[in-house]
């Protein structure tokens, strides 16, 4: 069962800032793009409509540690690893490396909860991960996951997101 995915992107001009490097907030957009490509690779979409219900994956927490700057037109490989799968949430770990020499650029985590989204009111209600999705996603072997503690695990976050 799949527990990892790699996406390679080239840095775009609009992702840089006046310091001449990729703006730090854009690493979170790159994590998300990788998560979504991972879902597509399994035949799913991260934001689906079925029988009038919209299901999405709002974030519980996001974290990134920066090791080296990333510059315009550099290619970066984003390596997603599934760190934890719970009944209503998934936690991912990401490692960013320069495609040409493998330099580690950054390392991050996302924890997302499966939820129905009311597009009019913006209300989110956590739900069980669909069986079809759960059957396809599994945590990566422990030895592949980083040894540093998670910034915030969905378990501690669950206190503020009842039922997550």
């Amino acid at each position: 069962m799949p527990y990892e995915f790699k996406l390679t992107r080239r840095v775009e001009f609009a992702e840089t800032d006046m310091a001449g490097i990729v703006h730090f907030a854009n690493f979170f957009r790159m994590m998300e793009a990788t998560e979504h490509a991972f879902f597509r690779s399994l035949g799913f979409t991260i934001h689906g409509h079925e029988s009038g219900t919209t299901t999405g994956w709002p974030r519980v927490s996001a974290t990134c540690d920066y090791r080296a700057p990333l510059k315009f037109e550099e290619e970066v490989e984003i390596h997603l690893l599934v760190a934890e799968v719970r009944s209503r949430s998934i936690r991912y770990q990401f490692i960013f490396r320069k495609a040409d020499d493998g330099t580690e650029v950054a390392r991050g985590q996302l924890a997302a909860v499966c939820a129905t989204v009311d597009k009019i009111t913006g209300k989110l209600a956590p739900v069980h991960i669909p069986e079809a999705v759960r059957a396809m996603i599994t945590p990566a072997p422990r030895e592949l996951l980083g040894t540093h503690a998670p910034a915030r695990s969905p378990s501690s976050a669950s206190a503020s997101t009842p039922g997550a």
Copy 2:
């Protein structure tokens, strides 16, 4: 000596995503905008040029925990607290609350290192925080800071950013 700052913003349309709420990566842009406004309030700029040298504050780590969705045209108050001041880095804590009813929306942290920036090569070199800045910024009293552990303190990060 100042250890906190509050910035109030109204959510813009371009900050929302198709889930009808503020995209999670934009919380990091809001943290940064608050950090920069804090610096301006002290008479400094976060990205200055002096005698041919550009000094900036590249990020060592960034983290955010999401509690409630934030929607278009809602006003949000971002409360910055200085969590730690070291010789070459500062760590901030942020709490996002809806301006109308005080609902806590999110809570985050940024750790930034003072560095010279070579705009041609993109190279960053950590330096001591200028005395004028250090003299103005102090950590908030412990009882004001959140009790949850930092996602990643600059001390652990310093291992990967030599001299930070």
Copy 3:
């Protein structure tokens, strides 16, 4: 009846690019922010829900001519003028000036059509502008509107970029 509005903003770090100036696409976000603030000033919202229907203002066209770079932390005043009001669409003209010395930075236009938005399918259907809105918005006097054609051609633009 109102036909103009002014919004002042300070350039944020995340709006700049590696050329050290505001990325050109962000001028369109600033135009939109001004349009929305204009609507709020009249007691309306640009993206409303009523009796299960969502009404929005999808864009028909957008254009911007750039005269001078805009930099980090500079204050810019965005001056909106209503250029044309039709049964289902409105056209706005915008002039960007530096707040400190009045230097013209850019000049743009947006044409938007009033439409119902199906948030599930993404379908847009043009509708008549609500009477309450139409009653409040009127075109600016002709002498206030720019004399240049609705959207500058690069050939006319070359006049302001000597030698281009």
Copy 4:
């Protein structure tokens, strides 16, 4: 000599807004990404440093006409055509089409001037297009270029938005 280029992209979540479609300002980022990929395909970079001088292509004007909404995960083909080459500037035309059925989504233009960029002061100074670049880029045949005027006025746009 090359006068066209095609780039295919998949719409990312962070490019959408609460109307459920790609935010209109992001079409300008897509035009730019295509322009830069065109340059790379010729062996150039759009933002280069040589002997201490940074050369870039600041925009003189940008325009886009929107025909149909573009949604999350849809693939869009962006077709760049060189519309005009002058001594210090280039004008491009872009057509956006859905990759699956060829539906035209939008059509735009960018005019950019070749300039040296002072990264400290943000000053831009137009210069002649380097000979190596000029030798490689040529205007597309007239019959390939859109017959509509360089930038659509909203009045002509109304033809494609029945009843606007």
